[in-house]
């Protein structure tokens, strides 16, 4: 294996002659590359009566394009060991491409076809629709999905974020081929295309590939307007399910990656519930009391309403105690910032572990994409640890009040005992 220096990852901004931008981390040691891209084309832009459109569309982009019908397209991918996956979340439609160097040109050509000439033949539309329906039915018996879905539905009632990304059986049944064609024509545009690439490719080669692949996309998107929104808080909702253990989702507004308070929020979240065994919630809920196998929290980058979310699962008879412990710890952090020791430990973890998150092409491509989506700049990898070290006690006091002073929204799937529902 080729040896390389142990310095920080070098990131280039590649701008093709046609104006397509990507962040690139060139890494020649293994002969393949990973690419991840996103469009602002997610479920939030779906019409209410056709919720699930972006998700269904993502499932169909690799199901036939240009001269290839579905099986022929899949055969091109599989025979060439090319991995192409598409998915939609609330905000974005994301595509991941992984290809060996030997098949690179062909891989980008298949990606171009998927984005610009998807066929949407009747057979794959009905097949993928059937898969989405089967998946939804399976999720109905998944308490984690039920609790999470209920959280978003209550927090964002009346807003696009409150609708299920995957739709409902009724809305999925209404989606027709014209809707899929329109989504591709109107939402997949170059204006908000963001791309991260890591692996065996140079800047010049990539620039050529970018133009050949993306030049055919429209310059501007035509999307319905969407409004920023604040989650509704305060309720504790119970979703009855006949299971021995209750699964809980809880959350509040968070902080977005481009916010000056983001790194302080990352530290606060690490101390409370983001740090595994190093976090207060794990200590109180699992280590001291054996109430749960896992309890965790994280910052979710929702473009219109950044969130701080968490989860815990505890036997029905004891779950009320777990939820109370979460409330107590949240309130405590709202009153008083973490100790100096906790802040120092969080900083050494967050800075020391940063290179661990950049050790594969897939991870790097995803990180570079995130940097572009959130406008963090080409030099973010170099600056990031300095930003964490620079967070002061007063920043944390401010951010802890901002994040944790106030009510939670809590949803519980199961048969919890002793919960006011």
């Amino acid at each position: 294996m080729a040896e390389r220096g142990s310095g920080p990852v070098r990131v280039e901004e590649v701008v093709s002659p046609g104006g397509v931008r990507a962040y690139l981390a060139s890494e020649r040691s293994v002969p393949f590359l990973s690419l991840e891209l996103s469009f602002r084309a997610g479920a939030v832009f779906d019409p209410a009566e056709k919720a699930g459109l972006a998700h269904l569309c993502a499932g169909l982009l690799d199901e036939g394009a240009g001269p290839y019908d579905s099986q022929a397209f899949q055969r091109e991918l599989e025979d060439n060991a090319i991995k192409l996956t598409c998915e939609a979340d609330h905000d974005e439609l994301r595509i991941r491409l992984k290809t060996l160097t030997a098949t690179r040109e062909h891989a980008f050509e298949l990606l171009r076809l998927a984005l610009t000439e998807p066929r949407f033949d009747p057979e794959p539309i009905e097949r993928i629709r059937g898969q989405v329906l089967a998946d939804l039915r399976r999720r109905e018996s998944d308490p984690g999905y039920v609790a999470g879905r209920a959280w978003y539905a209550r927090a964002f009632d009346g807003h696009g974020y409150g609708r299920p990304i995957r739709g409902t059986p009724e809305t999925i049944a209404r989606i027709r081929r014209e809707d899929l064609v329109a989504l591709v024509a109107e939402r997949l545009a170059r204006e908000d295309l963001a791309i991260g690439v890591a692996g065996d490719v140079g800047a010049e080669e990539l620039a050529g590939l970018l133009d050949r692949t993306f030049a055919g996309l429209p310059a501007r998107a035509n999307r319905p307007p969407v409004e920023p929104v604040t989650p509704a808080l305060g309720d504790t909702l119970v979703l009855p399910m006949p299971i021995p253990q209750s699964v809980v989702t809880f959350g509040r507004p968070g902080v977005r990656p481009s916010d000056p308070d983001y790194h302080a929020a990352t530290i606060a979240n690490y101390v409370l519930g983001g740090g595994g065994f190093a976090s207060r919630l794990m200590e109180e809920v699992r280590e001291r009391r054996g109430l749960a196998y896992s309890v965790y929290t994280y910052l979710a980058d929702m473009a219109l309403a950044p969130l701080w979310l968490g989860g815990v699962a505890t036997s029905n008879e004891r779950v009320a105690q777990s939820i109370e412990l979460v409330r107590v710890e949240v309130a405590k952090l709202a009153r008083e910032a973490p100790s100096e020791r906790e802040i120092a430990d969080a900083k050494t973890y967050l800075t020391g572990s940063f290179p661990l998150r950049l050790s594969t092409n897939d991870q790097l491509a995803r990180m570079l994409l995130g940097m572009m989506v959130h406008g963090l700049g080409r030099d973010y990898l170099e600056r990031r640890n300095g930003l964490v070290w620079a967070v002061g006690r007063e920043d944390l006091e401010r951010v802890c009040r901002r994040l944790y002073a106030g009510e939670l929204l809590v949803t519980v799937a199961g048969r919890p005992e002793g919960l006011p529902g």
Partner: protein, 440 residues
């Protein structure tokens, strides 16, 4: 560019996967190193050749319980501090247990490797268990079982299929253990198990990343070399008798909305003396059920439109004979009574008609090409090597994998299919909504 032909992926079949270096310490501890300098990071794994198929009678899952207790402290490291120390040094750590192995790992900056090796060696020899830490952890395991199994009808069915597939061999036990046996674990059970199995002579160190054997050897010697070896019993599990009866299992539950079908077959493991049958089976299950152009997906999902999903899987790295699986999930409105005969017809077609030369070559070429991706993940490389070494194989089983797949012949795949896809060796599991069971 509308007429692109098939592109040859690569030329020669690779003769190596990861180029590991290996040596053994005087106390019998095996060490394996794979160098990858792309980031100043090392994946440090310690594997023990013991897993849940080695559970003491009546204590199913005890090896997994011990995995949890290994984080509970030693005379030097206070309870619960292990992971906190790793985190304070910018590392991630965790552990996992399967039937044939238990493994502990840290991902850490290279300049902190010395520290985590010291911690790992310390708990190999000096675990200090007290009641106030053992018993709350037993509650954690009970919650883990509820989360992973008892809350999920699909997982309960999988557990029942596994128990039915193996009539006698301990692979019939759930890795996490039966609920009532978890509740019976004592501190003494854990200590006895630890003393029996956690010896350096039963351990394997695997380091992958910004390090080579020359740098690792003195560290391994310093931290692990001084630990005294204890004799460790040979792993001799009771073996399966011949199986004569096809088994059918059904789980009907009011929570189930989406039915599914699983067919499990007893299947040979890869053995050092015979790599060929396992390689043929890997290819067989790949062309049968991996990806959108596989036989099962193409027929059941695309052409007949009966299934939403269909596929197959076989993992040959197992200390004893194992199980291979085929699964399908119906499209809404299609009863399992229609799906299962269609699945059986595909199997019959394979047994009667054999496999095509072109189909076989495409499949083998893809498997070999995709193996290049496995080189990218430090932890992934450590896991592949550790699994092989804990299931009775050596490093050549990993390094020669592309060559073994390339050598698989059509007649071998067909013979493997006839040997394995035998109804008398099978379990058919059906997950159903409660209405369909007929008893409400």
């Amino acid at each position: 560019m509308s007429d692109i032909g098939l592109i040859p992926i690569t030329g020669a079949v690779p003769t190596a996967m990861f180029n590991p270096t290996t040596f053994t310490l005087a106390n019998g501890m095996r060490v394996v190193v794979v160098t990858n300098r792309r980031a100043p990071v090392v994946a440090h794994y310690v594997w023990y050749r013991v897993g849940c198929a080695d559970s003491p009678a009546g204590k199913s899952g005890l090896p997994h319980f011990l995995e949890h207790l290994m984080f509970k402290g030693t005379r030097r490291v206070p309870p619960g501090e292990f992971s906190k120390i790793v985190a304070r040094n910018g590392g991630n750590d965790n552990a996992f247990t399967s039937y044939d192995y238990t493994a502990y790992f840290q991902m850490i900056a290279k300049d902190r490797l010395d520290l985590v090796m010291g911690l790992e060696a310390d708990r190999m020899a000096d675990l200090d268990l007290s009641d106030e830490h053992v018993y709350p952890e037993r509650d954690v395991i009970l919650e883990e079982r509820k989360q992973r199994v008892d809350n999920e009808p699909q997982a309960l069915l999988a557990e029942a299929i596994q128990a039915a597939q193996f009539l006698h061999h301990p692979y019939r036990l759930p890795i996490i253990g039966w609920l009532h046996e978890i509740a019976s674990y004592t501190r003494e059970d854990a200590v006895a198990f630890y003393e029996r199995w956690y010896s350096p002579s039963n351990a394997i160190l695997i380091a992958v990343g910004d390090i080579d054997a020359e740098e690792l050897a003195p560290l391994a010697e310093r931290h692990y070399g001084g630990l005294p070896a204890r004799p460790v019993p040979e792993r001799r599990r009771v073996q399966e008798p011949p199986q004569y009866a096809a088994r059918r299992i059904e789980l009907a539950d009011p929570k189930v909305r989406q039915p599914s079908l699983v067919r499990s077959y007893l299947a040979p493991n890869q053995r050092p003396e015979d790599h060929r049958e396992a390689a043929a089976l890997e290819v067989l299950f790949e062309l049968l059920g991996e990806g959108a152009t596989s036989r099962l997906y193409r027929s059941l999902v695309v052409e007949q439109g009966l299934a939403a999903a269909a596929g197959a899987g076989y993992q040959p790295w197992s200390l004893d004979p194992t199980a291979a699986r085929i699964y399908a999930s119906p499209r809404p409105g299609v009863p399992l009574e229609r799906l299962e005969p269609a699945l059986d017809a595909e199997i019959a077609e394979l047994l009667d008609g054999g496999v095509g030369e072109d189909e076989l070559e495409r499949c083998k070429r893809r498997m070999i090409a995709e193996s290049i991706y496995a080189r990218d993940s430090l932890g992934g490389v450590a896991r592949i090597l550790g699994m092989a070494l804990c299931t009775g194989l050596d490093l050549d089983a990993v390094e020669a994998w592309p060559q073994r797949i390339a050598a698989v012949e059509k007649a071998e795949v067909e013979a493997a299919a006839r040997a394995v896809l035998v109804p008398a060796h099978s379990v058919t599991g059906r997950l159903l909504p409660v209405e369909a069971s007929g008893d409400g």
